[in-house]
Symmetry: none
Subunit: 208 residues, 4 copies
Amino acid sequence: MQSRSSAARATGRPRSAAADAAILEATRAALVELGWSRLTLGDVAMRAGVAKTTLYRRWAGKNELVVDAVAELFDELELPDSGSLAADIEGVVLQFAAILDRPEAKSGLMAVVAEATRDEALRERVRASIVDRQKRLVLEGRARAQARGELPVEDDPAAAAATVDLIFDMVAGAVVHRTLVSAEPVTEDWARRFAQMLLQGLTNTSPA
Amino acid sequence: MQSRSSAARATGRPRSAAADAAILEATRAALVELGWSRLTLGDVAMRAGVAKTTLYRRWAGKNELVVDAVAELFDELELPDSGSLAADIEGVVLQFAAILDRPEAKSGLMAVVAEATRDEALRERVRASIVDRQKRLVLEGRARAQARGELPVEDDPAAAAATVDLIFDMVAGAVVHRTLVSAEPVTEDWARRFAQMLLQGLTNTSPA
Amino acid sequence: MQSRSSAARATGRPRSAAADAAILEATRAALVELGWSRLTLGDVAMRAGVAKTTLYRRWAGKNELVVDAVAELFDELELPDSGSLAADIEGVVLQFAAILDRPEAKSGLMAVVAEATRDEALRERVRASIVDRQKRLVLEGRARAQARGELPVEDDPAAAAATVDLIFDMVAGAVVHRTLVSAEPVTEDWARRFAQMLLQGLTNTSPA
Amino acid sequence: MQSRSSAARATGRPRSAAADAAILEATRAALVELGWSRLTLGDVAMRAGVAKTTLYRRWAGKNELVVDAVAELFDELELPDSGSLAADIEGVVLQFAAILDRPEAKSGLMAVVAEATRDEALRERVRASIVDRQKRLVLEGRARAQARGELPVEDDPAAAAATVDLIFDMVAGAVVHRTLVSAEPVTEDWARRFAQMLLQGLTNTSPA
DNA sequence: CGTTAATCGAGACGGTACGTCAGGTCTTCAC
DNA sequence: GTGAAGACCTGACGTACCGTCTCGATTAACG
């Protein structure tokens, strides 16, 4: 989405705010029914009760549209306060897996990532809308664990940031790979074993 | 690829064996230049010096073709015998990341995974050609580590298999996520930190 | 060609009128160069500087397009007022033969007739666009001859209509057969002999 | 069809004579079911229980094959000896129309004529296999009429030949045009009127 | 309160690729 | 060498979406 040069224009008919929401919703509905590759912008426009022109005026193409439509899904994620770091990890893993299991997410996410490998701007959009946005969960989890005394406070801010990135890639990566590549379900048992293994790594690793 | 029911073969001109190889090679070349979404089967056929019909006679579509073309890439992976489990992990992670960094792999792999979310047959093909095939690395690594006494021998075969799956998803997932989703490079430093963290999990986790 | 229900026209971009003319002209040019069987709609579209879809939006296929393109050719025909029925017939026969000798006509006309044998709608289109349209020549010729007193006025309108049809089939049939089936030229001599023979039939036949 | 250098070869397996007949019969059957444009040589080969190769070894292509298949149909035509020239003409017209009404004839004949407009060799084949072959009917009819005294004997052989050609084009042309272009049935009434009109031309025209 | 200008819907436009089909040729093995 | 089988290359098919364009018809804010 784009706001047309911040301190915006005045004259002329303003853009319909409702259209944006309708389009994103229609995009998700189309992802559910058709998946990424069979989704067409013409179809999305029709579902949203909007002309194709209107859609193209707001998004550059399929990729950008789907990033925005999918990104909203991950905002539902919340870190459960379960009292222990292990339980927190387990909880967030299960939540994440539940979202990834929804067809509008699984079908769109990987496709957009695939496209992003050849499109710097899209890569940046994915990073901003999805990756960086959900790192909040790792940060929050670490803060809580440190408050509880489960994790030491890292002094070097650069090392701390690197650890956050590493943990994020490990958690998100494992869940995504399990769900989409291996195509096996993330069961409670799997989540528990994963959390346990990660915890050992976290607590016993001297910050190199 | 398909062998036409093993002991079939009776009549008619036999299929050119050279064509198969040329097509897969052309597919990878096209992936490098164009990426998944701009790759067309017509173009692949032309590059391979083959008619479109020949291509369609052997593969059902773009998805199936690309799975086969990409799967071959991962066969290069070898577990380095570096003397310690940590070094083995680090080594394979760097190798894996190097392959994933090649445009023919990154562009194709995620796209195929995305398509597989809506296509059971394709999912099975990915599992057979890529996932299960590369689990050999985890199995071999574990065997070596057990021989060295770095890892205990698990008695329960079911639990052992679950661990293999878990480790595979964690390693592959982390590298894929780092490379393609976070879009950050897998440096030697990152690989060392990751290996260290995983190792802690492996050696300190009581097989629940 | 179709006018979309005359008083329709409400919304959307209107169809380009220029495109229609360009397409028909390109069709005739392609008929000259390639003939019916080698003519492709893709090529016609390219010649006309138009997208294939534009062409298919207006005509259902090659047959319909060629009927329209060829029909226009016969509109050039004019009944010469030469003072006698014999000369009138002779003149129109030579004109007709001249048109049939042009490659865009000979190549397209028979092919369309061949297709029409299996396609009722096409048959109707040929009848409307070509046959009925050119019967005007027979009607006009008869009127003049009656004015000159060369032919009696038939009283029974049904019999008169049947005679018109018969004459039309005899004239057009003979010229077409001579030109396309026998593949011999229609010379002035042939036209004179034909006109003479027909005239005898016309003037001496008691209207059964 | 071609006979391989008259005083033919010896060595190798001889061509199956049955195949020729089967192919021509299959061609006619395919014309009935599919018409010219949808008829495919692959399909004909299958119907005839013959390989495509066999078919191509004997005919150069679709056009040549269909000419041969259709030409046989017209060999059925026979001049009825009805006692008067008018009745003879009427009879042959009705016979000819009956053949032209059969789908294997109407669909194939015009298509072949259309192709022949751009193919000298094909034109020659049509002339030899169909046109010249059926002129026998006109010749025979004239001879009988002369024997009966209905027609004078023409002295100039060139003029006589020209008249035969003219009559042939007039008869065949009118019937073909009526049947295929105007797409109206040739009724007994039409045939009678046509014969009458032609007769007047024949008997009253001084051989210019 | 009537301009004014960007919005909206609709749908035609020039393109590109699709997956299929037929035409003819070539290669294999059996006769 | 003929024959059936079927793979091969070529090229056209008719369709589907793409992203752009041209319409006439709404809207608001501005003047």
